[in-house]
């Protein structure tokens, strides 16, 4: 144990990565969220990533029951939750065992010694106690009897059972970390006051334990160092911390308000997409109609019905759910109705890794339907920009009369980050193709000349009664047609309609270098990892490496090929075995697309990326 201290000024750091780990019932998500929110209020940039088991309450002390929450805070722009840890807080042996590998050598681990019982060590499959056997010699270990200290702090608070007392030890840990990083406890105490309004003794207990942890760290000379992280330089404005799934839901709310349409959600619970449903059901005050259906198929079909009847219609799901929705998505494409399908990707195939992240549904989104059935495919890249891409998905669906699949993933959906709040007043206009009156010779498949969007005649409108359906339609009248030429014509029109969306989306831009030796290409939720790796290389002097990140997958931005031509080598990085690269190879000849892939249910590691990119420019 290191007992040298420390009356010196806090050390100033640019950024730190902290991970809180414990049993899935230990309140690690709450602890992590409190720490990240407090840091954001302080003005740091942050990124967070929760990591929890799919069991709601896995057996106590087990290795697979470990729940974690990682937060990356900085005075500089933060784009990922970080790789290697500066501080690990382990509430039990299992948490220590499963997370120690991520802690940087020489850095700090705080452990609750009370939890290192023989039984818990066995459950964590330790043959000897790591606190005693020297296996932690490479780290600064802070041993704290947190459970006993928590009990001690609460001994005079009446009306608490033993379980509630033990459960508040996470606040002791949080109090210690607040002191270490020079954070005030005010925000969290405010939080207790609001959250437990009707339970004054719970407020009292939590506040007491939080302060006890804080003072413990301050007064006892057990803490090797105290750090401070100054506020980050961020664009001026009003911010809040937002989770990707919430941002997605809010983008849809904004689109509904801007377009003047009512929002309809048809959905079925599935990890990790369900939080979008949870969020939207709250907003009946905006007239949101959120319908929890009997299955994934009814989720999308109810949305198709609502779209036919004139609502902005959404369905949300994850990989296996998208598979179930495939046929209905084909129908929406065939009858050319606006529809937003949100797929929060998780590890696949089949049930796969429901609580882990992956980018392996790209080809499913592109092609996972019978016949030739193109749809617009977009991908959000950070928790905050889920807002923008949900909004854009709705806008494109309404303006082009087509389904749009928006891909996010478990990593950005559950991660949170500061979001500069967007007022709907400043969002781009959303047009629609609704018609109110029939012109002479009106037909339901009459199209806008520029976009090829068909007009949207909504039930209840006199004189526009018409029938649509999954059978092929005559190009003029919209009646059922088996005429061979007509089928080919309609197949081309449907493809061309999606292709023309190119005229309405922004061109792609490179970062760090306009031209050079290597272009790093990514899409979707890997923006943060790729950006920080290329930035680090740029800071190290590799000015010949550019980076570009795709949000528009189908269609691709118009200038894609021109950009590719400006680099000698291109590497496409994805959390799958190479799906986007297949699409690029289909579109663009004459490029040697290299690949960097990872299929472990985890984000890219910074070091792996750096090593790979350096290799390519050597």
């Amino acid at each position: 144990m290191n007992t040298t201290k420390t009356n010196q000024q806090p050390e100033v750091l640019e950024a730190v990565v902290i991970r809180f780990v414990g049993d899935s019932g230990d309140g690690m998500q709450l602890t992590g969220t409190q720490f990240s929110d407090t840091s954001a209020m302080f003005g740091n940039d942050i990124a967070t990533f929760p990591n929890y088991p799919s069991e709601i309450r896995a057996p106590q002390g087990s290795l697979y029951g470990v729940s974690g929450f990682q937060v990356h805070i900085g005075s500089v722009a933060i784009s990922t939750p970080g790789d290697n840890l500066d501080l690990l807080v382990a509430m039990n042996p299992a948490g220590l065992k499963t997370n120690l590998h991520a802690l940087k050598p020489g850095h700090t681990v705080i452990v609750d010694t009370d939890s290192f019982s023989k039984k818990n060590l066995e459950k964590a499959q330790y043959e000897s106690n790591p606190l005693e056997d020297g296996s932690l010699d490479n780290y600064r270990v802070i041993e704290v009897a947190m459970t006993s200290l928590t009990k001690e702090a609460l001994k005079e608070v009446e009306g608490l059972d033993n379980k509630s007392i033990t459960r508040s030890k996470n606040m002791f840990a949080l109090g210690m970390v607040y002191w270490m990083y020079d954070r005030s406890t005010d925000y969290t105490i405010d939080f207790f006051n609001k959250k437990f309004k009707s339970k004054p003794q719970i407020i009292k207990a939590n506040t007491k334990v939080l302060n006890a942890g804080f003072y413990f760290a301050e007064t006892l000379e057990l803490i090797p160092n105290s750090y401070t992280i100054s506020p980050a330089k961020m664009e001026k404005g009003t911010y809040r911390i937002i989770m990707g799934n919430t941002a997605t839901a809010w983008g849809l709310l904004a689109a509904a308000e801007k377009s003047g349409l009512e929002l309809f959600l048809g959905s079925y619970p599935i990890t990790p997409a369900t939080d979008i449903l949870h969020e939207l059901v709250k907003h009946k005050h905006f007239g949101v109609k959120a319908f929890q259906a009997e299955d994934e198929i009814a989720g999308i079909t109810s949305a198709i019905g609502a779209s036919f009847a004139g609502d902005l219609a959404i369905t949300t799901t994850s990989g296996p759910g998208l598979a179930l929705k495939g046929e209905a998505l084909g129908l929406a494409m065939m009858i050319e109705l606006p529809l937003v399908v949100i797929n929060v990707q998780r590890g696949g195939p089949s049930t796969g890794l429901p609580t882990k992240t992956e980018q392996s549904d790209l080809l499913q989104a592109m092609y996972g339907r019978n016949g030739e059935s193109p749809v617009i495919v977009l991908a959000a890249s950070t928790p905050a920009d889920c807002f923008n891409y949900a909004y854009e998905a709705a806008k494109l669906a309404l303006e082009h009369m087509t389904p749009v699949v928006l891909l996010t993933d478990g990593y950005i959906a559950n991660g949170s980050a500061p979001w500069k709040i967007q007022s709907v007043n400043n969002m781009p206009e959303i047009k629609n193709n609704i018609i109110k009156e029939a012109s002479e010779n009106w037909h339901p498949y009459d199209r806008n000349e520029d976009t090829l969007a068909r007009n949207w005649a909504i039930p209840g409108t006199e004189g526009l009664e018409h029938r649509v359906g999954g059978l092929e339609k005559d190009r003029v009248t919209g009646n059922v047609s088996y005429v061979p030429d007509n089928h080919e014509h309609m197949t081309h029109i449907r493809a061309e309609k999606v292709k023309r969306v190119q005229n309405y989306i922004p061109e792609i831009k490179p970062e760090f270098a306009e031209e050079g030796d290597l272009l790093v290409v990514g899409w979707g939720g890997t923006y943060g990892s790729l950006h920080s790796a290329v930035k680090q290389l740029n800071d190290e002097g590799f000015k010949n490496i550019g980076f570009t990140h795709f949000h528009h997958i189908n269609p691709l931005p118009k200038n894609t090929e021109d950009l590719f031509k400006k680099f000698k080598k291109i590497i496409v990085c994805e959390l799958n075995s190479g799906q986007f690269v297949q699409i690029l190879r289909n579109h663009f000849n004459g490029f040697d697309f290299k690949q960097f892939n990872k299929v472990q249910g985890l984000p890219f590691g910074n070091n792996d990326l750096i090593q790979e990119f350096k290799q390519l420019v050597k």
Binding site: D37, M41, E235, K236, G237, T238, Y239, R240, I241, W250, L253, F264, G266, H283, K284, H285, F286, G287, K289, F291, A293, E294, D295, I297, A298, G299, I300, T301, S302, I304, G305, A306, F308, A309, G310, D311, A313, E327, A328, K420, I421, Q422, S423, V424, N425, P459, G460, T461, E462, G463, L464, E465, H466, R467, V468, G469, G470, L471, N479, V480
Partner: protein
């Protein structure tokens, strides 16, 4: 302000598409009955929406000059639910068959009935797959020889009525495919009923299952083999209107008025509006006589009424009028 509904005739509801069912199919009777029923309902043509799945029956929307969608197999209930929840002012009709609703769409069918959205469902039951040319369906009888059961069907059938009542159906009616007048009447009643109305039509398939209901629906035997139920009226049937139903223990029993001292006063009086479905279930199961007409019509709160009440309540108590109110509320902070 409500604008007056035009006076329509069946022609207003007839589309310009050529009807392509087999000659002699009961589907023609259903189509014409609907086209005649709609002018009696007092709904505007532009407010009527037909949603179908896949199968012979599901061509129906193309022949109606209203809004319509011929969707995908089994999924009409989901689509129709979305239409109605998006715009509760519409008159929404699901057109489906025995396979479409109870095989591939079985899950949607039961949940639709459970929720009680105010829409109507007409099930064309012909105990066979017609469009795919003659395989057994979930209502085909055990032993029935079809293209996919050449030695006889081994899968016991659903009774649509029993399934529906088990799934909390509030309105269930049954009608023979060759009785247009009664059918028209039932369509009008279904539209009037607030909640999900299910009408099972015993529809003869002339090609693949000809005569499947003849023993009940043939003109010559109809009066003796069917009891047409009317709410508040005694359960009487027969050519001479001298037969009726009484309860004997836990079973319905056929009696003859004038025999063994039975008078009309002894007969059961049909109460379609009763919440307890026990007697309705017995009527649904009866095979001599088979029950037609409105078997159950229990008034209950609809899903959209519940949703509407909740929405009004939340709106009245919420401080959020615009999304900006939400976005800027709570834990925000300034970067200067």
């Amino acid at each position: 302000m409500e604008t007056a509904v035009k006076k329509y005739t069946f022609k207003d509801f007839t589309s310009d598409q050529e009807v392509r069912w087999c000659p002699g199919c009961d589907d023609y009777v259903i189509l014409r009955s609907m086209q005649k029923a709609l002018p009696e309902m007092g709904v505007k043509k532009e407010d009527v929406v037909f949603i179908s799945g896949i199968g012979c029956s599901s061509r129906f929307p193309y022949y109606m000059n209203t809004y319509g969608m011929h969707s995908i197999h089994g999924r009409a209930p989901g689509i129709a639910s979305g239409v109605k929840l998006a715009n509760p002012d519409l008159s929404v009709w699901i057109i489906t068959g025995d396979g479409d609703s109870m095989a591939i769409g079985g899950n949607h069918f039961i949940h639709l009935l459970r929720r009680n959205i105010d829409l109507n469902l007409i099930m064309f039951n012909n105990e066979i797959y017609g469009l795919t040319k003659g395989q057994f369906s979930p209502t085909s009888l055990v032993g029935q020889k079809t293209k996919s059961s050449p030695y006889g069907n081994t899968q016991p059938p659903f009774s649509p009525g029993e399934l529906a009542l088990g799934a909390q159906a509030r309105f269930f009616a049954r009608i023979g495919g060759n009785t247009p007048k009664e059918m028209t009447h039932l369509f009008v009643e279904a539209e009037k009923f607030k909640g999900t109305s299910l009408i099972e039509v015993l529809q003869n398939c002339v090609i693949f299952n000809d005569g499947c209901f003849t023993q009940y629906t043939d003109k010559a035997v109809r009066a003796d083999k069917q009891i047409f139920l009317e709410h508040g009226k005694p359960m009487i049937f027969g050519k001479e209107s001298n037969k009726g139903l009484v309860l004997n223990g836990l079973k319905l029993e056929v009696v003859t008025i004038g025999e063994n001292g039975v008078t009309q006063e002894d007969l059961l009086v049909h109460n379609a509006k009763e919440q307890d479905p026990t007697l309705h279930q017995m009527l649904v199961r009866l095979d001599y006589p088979i029950a037609t007409g409105i078997i159950r019509s229990f008034d209950d709160v609809t899903l959209e009424e519940r949703e509407d009440a909740l929405t009004k309540q939340v709106k009245a108590n919420s401080k959020f009028k615009k999304t900006d109110d939400l976005f800027f509320a709570g834990e925000t902070y300034e970067v200067k």
